[in-house]
């Protein structure tokens, strides 16, 4: 049985892969992280007896391969606890942080119980670290942007000069969306001016800074078990999308077309994914105006519908086939 782990949020890729699993008449079950909190999944992990993670509603022995597409939104459970609580903001934020950690520990227990099964991507490799990723990318011979993590204005100003006065900042950890009733916010990539930096305090929250790389176009590459499916995004034609193509222009969407990564670069990506122990992921790269390929990051759980559809790659079908093959081997 193929086990699909996903969160309760609508995920169109999960729907499409499930359609293909139905088409191939594969046996699969979809569970949500929320099932462990709504009562539809019971957990029992007892150390004095068999030391076995038990989920009575789900026979883990039957699981033959796993596809992970997200699991839990911490905010749901944090909200349950904090809604009626009268306390200071600092207490609330400490509490939220602790609840998130406890949720994470529990999720890890569950993942550990699945550790011997084929997984897409490897559950232990999910929480990637940007600095670790960049270090390893450099090791396999990929070009990376000049990168600095600092809390110090002086260091940042020196770095600003070293990067020819073109600097971006982005989240050190993963991106996330915040939804309000009428709009959504998210962590995006920002271009920093000297004026921005001069307005910083001498000591600020430790943050990630990178030299801005002039693009000819961006690349989004879906990696699946040694195969690369690349797409070029012509974000430079449009001022709105130059720094971050996720500032979508809905009127005139960026041109997104199939791309054939040169063999040498493709090999480096494969080497990196092996080094990161990732069987799948979405890779962001830049092709510069002077014909260099610059690696930005890998997202093990990146959306691939955005690559699959415009390039007609049928990635949902390929993911379904991969899960079925893993079951048979």
């Amino acid at each position: 049985m193929i086990l699909i782990l996903s969160s309760s949020e609508l995920n169109i890729s999960v729907e499409h892969v499930a359609d293909w699993l139905d088409f191939y008449q594969a046996d699969y079950k979809r569970i949500l992280g929320d099932d462990f909190f709504s009562g539809s999944q019971t957990i029992a992990y007892q150390l004095d007896e068999e030391e076995e993670y038990q989920t009575p509603n789900l026979d883990l022995k039957q699981v033959s391969s796993i596809w992970f597409r997200g699991f839990i939104r911490h905010r749901t459970y944090i909200k349950n606890t904090t809604d009626d609580l009268q306390t200071s903001n600092s207490n609330l934020s400490e509490l939220s942080g602790r609840i998130a950690k406890a949720l994470h520990k529990n999720t890890n227990l569950f993942f550990k119980s699945l550790k011997d099964k084929p997984q897409l991507p490897n559950l232990q490799a999910l929480k990637t670290d940007k600095m670790d990723m960049l270090t390893k990318a450099k090791k396999v011979g990929l070009r990376i942007p000049k990168t600095l993590v600092t809390n110090n204005k002086q260091k940042l100003l020196e770095f600003y000069e070293a990067c020819d006065q073109k600097l971006i900042t982005k989240s050190l950890y993963e991106c996330v969306y915040f939804f309000e009733e009428d709009r959504a916010f998210s962590f995006k990539t920002h271009l920093l001016s000297k004026e921005d930096i001069l307005n910083f305090e001498d000591c600020f929250f430790p943050s990630l800074f990178q030299g801005y790389v002039e693009k000819e176009y961006e690349l989004r590459i879906f990696y699946l078990d040694g195969e690369l499916y690349s797409m070029a995004i012509f974000s430079q034609l449009d001022e709105q999308t130059q720094v971050d193509f996720r500032r979508y222009n809905d009127e005139k969407p960026n041109r997104t077309v199939p791309y054939q990564l040169p063999d040498e670069e493709a090999q480096k990506i494969c080497d990196l994914m092996q080094m990161l122990n990732l069987s799948t992921g979405s890779i962001d790269m830049i092709k510069t105006k002077d014909d260099q390929f610059v690696f930005l990051e890998v997202n093990p759980n990146g959306q691939f519908g955005m690559t699959s559809f415009p390039c007609n790659y049928h990635l949902e079908q390929k993911v379904a086939q991969h899960l079925i093959q893993a079951t048979q081997s």
Binding site: F23, L261, N312
Partner: protein
């Protein structure tokens, strides 16, 4: 470094017609009509850089510049020295559902039979359902069908029903407003003085035209062009109307399309799955535009719909759709109902001229 050549974005696909050509922008959903000379420039000289082209077409340099201006300003292509890294889109057509669209004529069928029909459609992974009521249909019947599709793979239901009175329309508007799977709803045969401002429902539209039978279907018009990768690739490999379609007509006959004569059993005795398994059910599914007379010479062929139920020559499986007023050899759109060459077929199908409206573009 290799020379810079001009490359169309892979989603901008040139299609050659008898007299002119198009570039179908499948990403942005636009179609550009171009002269054949530009088509050949793009196809036959794709390995030449600008200087070479300027030399070859020295006498027509202003046209050459006009062409590239047009292509660049509409963002249809770009100059690149790594053309080999930009492969074309592979237009393989693959979808997981067995049936994509079902058309159900609901006037004369008993409400109960829809349990059987919808259960089959769910097993067939059907995504879209069209409910057609040529006469006035009780809102409760439509509601019953909509409720059967809850939590099913059916993503969208389109509804056609006849106008009865304001109360019924309000009731229906409320129901489709609450039902996430209910899509665009057309109320036909509306009185000319009908005020609809009180209905705040984006899904609903009103038409004075009567849709009184399946003979109203099959119109070919630029209004129905769909310019995207799925439709384009399906059109390259299959029929752009009948592929993965199933219907139940008012008598319960299971057909590929209600307008077609062949029935593969009656829903009272036969399941949709059994009908679909019959040898000939899919016989029209693979008739491609590239094989259809006249359509195969049309520059719009891969973004256009098709019709096999009403064709110019009823005895020819590969005849052009009757209800198309476009002539790819003259590039003129005309009212198909007035075309003298079509009168025989119009008579053959018993299409009364007053009930047929041609959608014309000149």
């Amino acid at each position: 470094m290799p020379k810079k050549v001009f490359k169309l974005y892979a989603s901008c696909v040139p299609v050659l017609g008898a007299k002119r050509a198009t570039i179908c922008d499948l990403q942005r959903g636009k179609v550009y009509v171009i002269p054949q000379s530009l088509y050949h420039l793009l196809m036959d000289y794709s390995d030449k850089n600008y200087e070479e082209l300027a030399e070859m077409f020295a006498n027509d340099k202003s046209i050459l510049d006009k062409y590239f201006n047009f292509l660049l300003s509409n963002e249809l292509g770009f100059w690149t020295h790594e053309a080999q890294n930009f492969p074309p889109i592979d237009f393989t057509f693959q979808e997981p559902e067995i049936i994509q669209t079902a058309i159900l004529e609901i006037d004369d069928l008993d409400t109960d039979i829809f349990q059987k029909i919808i259960a089959s459609l769910i097993r067939l992974k059907c995504k879209f359902v069209e409910l057609r009521a040529y006469h006035s249909c009780p809102t409760s019947k439509i509601e019953f069908i909509l409720n059967l599709t809850k939590d099913s793979p059916i993503r969208n239901l389109i509804i056609y029903t006849q106008f009865t009175n304001i109360e019924e329309v309000s009731a229906l508007s409320k129901i489709i407003g609450q039902h996430p799977r209910a899509g665009s709803t057309v109320i036909h045969s509306c009185p000319s003085d009908l005020k609809t401002d009180f209905l705040r429902n984006d899904k609903m539209s009103f038409s004075q035209e009567a849709i009184s039978s399946s003979t109203h279907c099959g119109n070919i018009s630029p209004d129905y062009f769909i310019n995207d990768i799925r439709v384009f690739s399906e059109s390259l490999h299959h029929n752009s109307c009948l592929n993965r379609k199933i219907s139940v007509d008012n008598k319960g006959n299971i057909k590929n399309c209600p307008s077609l004569p062949d029935s593969y059993g009656n829903i009272q005795e036969t399941s949709l799955e059994d009908a679909l398994a019959q040898k000939d059910f899919k016989k029209l599914w693979n008739i491609k535009k590239d094989e259809i007379e006249k359509c195969k010479d049309c520059e719009f062929r891969h973004i256009c719909s098709d019709c096999r139920a009403y064709v110019e020559d009823p005895k020819n499986l590969y005849s052009k759709p009757l209800k198309c007023g476009y002539d790819p050899y003259t590039n003129q759109w005309q009212d198909w109902t007035q075309n003298p060459l079509k009168q025989k077929a119009i008579e053959y199908y018993n299409l009364s001229p007053s009930s047929q409206t041609a959608t014309n573009k000149t």
